[in-house]
């Protein structure tokens, strides 16, 4: 689960990482009031779960409350990489002497958290990694040893943070960021830029914070931060129904069981000339109710021109999936062609049920490849 900048900063503050004072606003009027309350120059920042806000005009300075309101008006409603801005964060503007970058990520290969620090902050870290890899100091933390100050010192010495007072602040901050990473079950904590003010104060000017969905049961407060309105409408619906669904751009709706098989199905659709409309995993269960829910989500996407079921039964039983398809056709009006490929546990029974139902838009295919070809052909004809 990705957090908005302001939510990440709330967590930062909770773990003692210095951030600027600010407040959320969802209208120009609110932005004006916040600016008034904060006093002085403020910065109005679009809250969207994507990067590139600056270039897209989503971050603006304002000298007066009136200007803050005007800036908020410009920013609210902006479309930034497909994300519509619904809220802005208004905070006291900071003077910036230096821009650093600090992050903790999950290094899956090393199976250890990875700390990264560079004094070349404020730009995309991939750029820095490519342009001047030596400028990017990296150190792994053994999760059993936990973070130790020597690791933060190493980051400072290697990245070239030379000023002793800055070093001291950065070392403390790295420790607190590690605490936040562990304490909030984060997959990523990134501060870019981590700024040094002309007075020598080090603080987080932005936040990128991703929390492990599997650990949200330990963090009801963070779970509540989820913005149910964010994302595509189909994805919202999927969340409500508990369906594992990712919206894509094509016209072939896809359901399968198991993430790998579904990804593979998307690829095969592309290979036979189609474009997948979504990723949708029925998961291990795949009972009738789940099939109905998933079909509701997929058909809510108006771009979908045909639907492919690709089921390889293991725990999932073919007859159960067939029952779900028939039940869905009973409850909903689906005129789109539905191609079904069933294999594995109880697949024969399932296929028999579907053939017997003899629904005019229901097609049963033997192999994954032939099913993909069939659905692309049928969708193309529409």
């Amino acid at each position: 689960m990705d957090l908005y900048e302001y939510q990440g900063k709330q967590l930062f503050a909770r773990f003692g990482i210095p951030v600027s004072e600010g407040k959320l606003a969802s209208s120009p009027e609110e932005a004006r009031a916040v600016a008034e309350e904060l006093g002085g120059q403020v910065v109005v920042k679009a809250q969207v779960l994507t990067g590139g806000r600056g270039k897209a005009g989503g971050i603006k300075l304002a000298d007066t409350p009136e200007e803050a309101a005007r800036r908020a008006e410009e920013i609210l409603g902006l479309d930034i990489r497909g994300h519509i801005v619904g809220k802005v964060w208004v905070e006291k503007a900071s003077d910036i002497a230096k821009e650093y970058y600090l992050s903790i990520t999950f290094d899956r290969g090393e199976k250890q958290p990875l700390l990264m620090l560079t004094t070349e902050g404020g730009v995309e870290i991939e750029e820095v990694a490519e342009r001047s890899p030596d400028a990017l100091a990296r150190v792994h933390v053994d999760p059993l040893m936990g973070f130790q100050p020597f690791q933060a010192r190493w980051l400072c010495f290697t990245a070239g943070v030379a000023d002793p007072d800055e070093q001291k602040q950065v070392i403390g901050l790295v420790g607190r960021l590690y605490d936040a990473f562990v304490g909030a079950d984060a997959m990523l904590c990134e501060i870019n830029p981590l700024i040094v003010t002309p007075e020598g104060e080090v603080k987080a000017l932005d936040s990128k914070f991703t929390v492990d969905d599997n650990a949200l049961f330990r963090h009801p407060d963070i779970a509540e931060m989820r913005d149910l309105d964010a994302g595509e409408p189909q994805e919202r619906l999927a969340r409500e129904k508990g369906v594992t669904y990712v919206k894509l751009d094509g016209e072939i709706g896809i359901l399968g069981n198991g993430a790998g098989l579904v990804m593979s199905t998307l690829d095969v659709i592309a290979q036979v000339g189609g474009r997948p409309a979504n990723f949708c995993d029925l998961g291990g269960g795949g009972d009738a109710e789940g099939v109905v829910d998933a079909l509701e989500v997929i058909t809510s996407d108006p771009q979908v021109k045909g639907i492919l079921f690709n089921i390889f039964g293991g725990i999932t039983r073919g007859d159960e999936v067939a029952r779900g398809i028939l039940e869905a056709l009973d409850r909903m009006t689906i005129e789109l062609p539905i191609v079904v490929r069933l294999d594995g546990t109880n697949a024969e029974e399932g296929r028999a049920m579907l053939i017997e139902a003899a629904s005019p838009n229901l097609y049963v295919e033997e192999t994954m490849l032939s099913a993909a070809e069939r659905v692309v052909e049928l969708a193309g004809a529409r």
């Binding site: 999950f106 899956r108 290969g109 199976k111 250890q112 958290p113 991939e126 053994d142 999760p143 059993l144 562990v182 079950d185 997959m187 492990d212 969905d213 599997n214 650990a215 049961f217 330990r218 594992t244 990712v246 894509l248 399968g256 069981n257 198991g258 993430a259 790998g260 098989l261 579904v262 990804m263 593979s264 998307l266 690829d267 095969v268 659709i269 592309a270 290979q271 997948p276 990723f279 995993d281 291990g284 390889f312 039964g313 293991g314 725990i315 999932t316 294999d343 594995g344 546990t345 192999t367 994954m368 490849l369």
Partner: protein, 292 residues
């Protein structure tokens, strides 16, 4: 021999009285796996399908000498269950449970690994050595005995490939589902190294997917360390960056972890890569046929 599980396996099932635990314990037993015990705290003294149930792994070990544990315990108690198995001296732990917090697994991995314990999973379908033992939820009827080792991050995709291989008459030594989570106990490298050492395995199929850099590391390893032919498949060419594709680990971050990059890395190290399950099965049949 096969790898990880075989006829020497003596299995204890943790969480055996749960719905999934009892169902699969019985299935594994019916397949011929030597399921010696089950554990559910507070349910000690009973039995599931004739398998004695104990309150703790330590007791199960004292009474029935298992060497392998299968974990079916709910996600929030799963790390505890793995520690319990390791603490009781179990050498191989296969964790089926999905949804375990990544930080839990991070600690578990770093605790377990230096102790020489083999951990497979979590969030994996288990390990099947056809004709010897099945530990997990893999539908054994898809697979037949043979000399091809199969290692995969995905369950059903593995079944699909096994199914296609079976249709071409190719059987397996062992099928290992390593799981799709960000932190898994056994990586491709670990399993490839075992297949390389296993006399019953002559060919290996590796089924990868987007996310991480394990396939790239495996590519270098295969070229440097493996004498046995490896054929690979990667899923997720059409996946967009930044979206988690079902598996918590299946996410393309920035430019890293794309299927294309993985395919290129593998091919650069001399590994043939199929672009769909049917093609990969055909490639395997070709290689196996060429050598037999």
């Amino acid at each position: 021999m096969a790898i990880i599980v075989d006829s020497e396996t003596r299995l204890v099932v943790q969480g055996i009285t749960g719905r999934e635990g009892s169902f699969h314990a019985a299935r594994n037993k019916a397949y011929g796996t030597n399921v010696v015990a089950g554990v559910t705290p507070g349910k000690g003294g009973g039995d599931v399908d004739g398998i004695p149930v104990f309150d703790s792994v330590r007791e199960a070990v004292a009474e029935t000498s298992p060497n392998t544990a299968m974990v079916f315990v709910p996600a929030r108690f799963a790390a505890d269950a793995i520690y319990e198995a390791v603490d009781a001296g179990i050498e191989t732990v296969i964790c089926i449970t999905e949804g375990i917090p990544a930080h839990d697994m991070l600690r578990v991995y770093n605790y377990v690994y230096p102790r020489g314990v083999t951990l497979v999973g979590p969030n994996c379908p288990g390990v099947l050595s056809p004709g010897k033992a099945n530990v997990g939820i893999i539908p054994a009827e898809i697979f037949r005995e043979g000399n091809v080792g199969l290692v995969s991050r995905s369950g059903t995709l593995t079944y699909q490939i096994g199914h296609e291989l079976a249709q071409l008459g190719v059987g397996q030594s062992t099928i290992v589902g390593i799981g799709g989570d960000p932190v898994v106990g056994s990586s491709f490298l670990d399993v490839l190294a075992r297949f390389e050492r296993d006399p019953e395995t002559e060919y290996v199929v590796m089924v990868g997917e987007i996310g991480g850099a394990e396939e790239e590391k495996a590519a270098s390893f295969i070229e440097a360390e493996m004498t046995k032919p490896v054929i690979a498949y990667i899923a997720g060419f059409t996946a967009p960056p930044g979206k988690t594709m079902g598996h918590a680990g299946a996410i393309i971050s920035g430019t890293a972890g794309t299927a294309q990059a993985k395919k290129e890395a593998l091919e650069a190290h001399g590994v043939r890569v199929g672009t769909n399950p049917t093609e990969v099965a055909r490639l395997v049949a070709e290689v196996v046929g060429a050598r037999t």
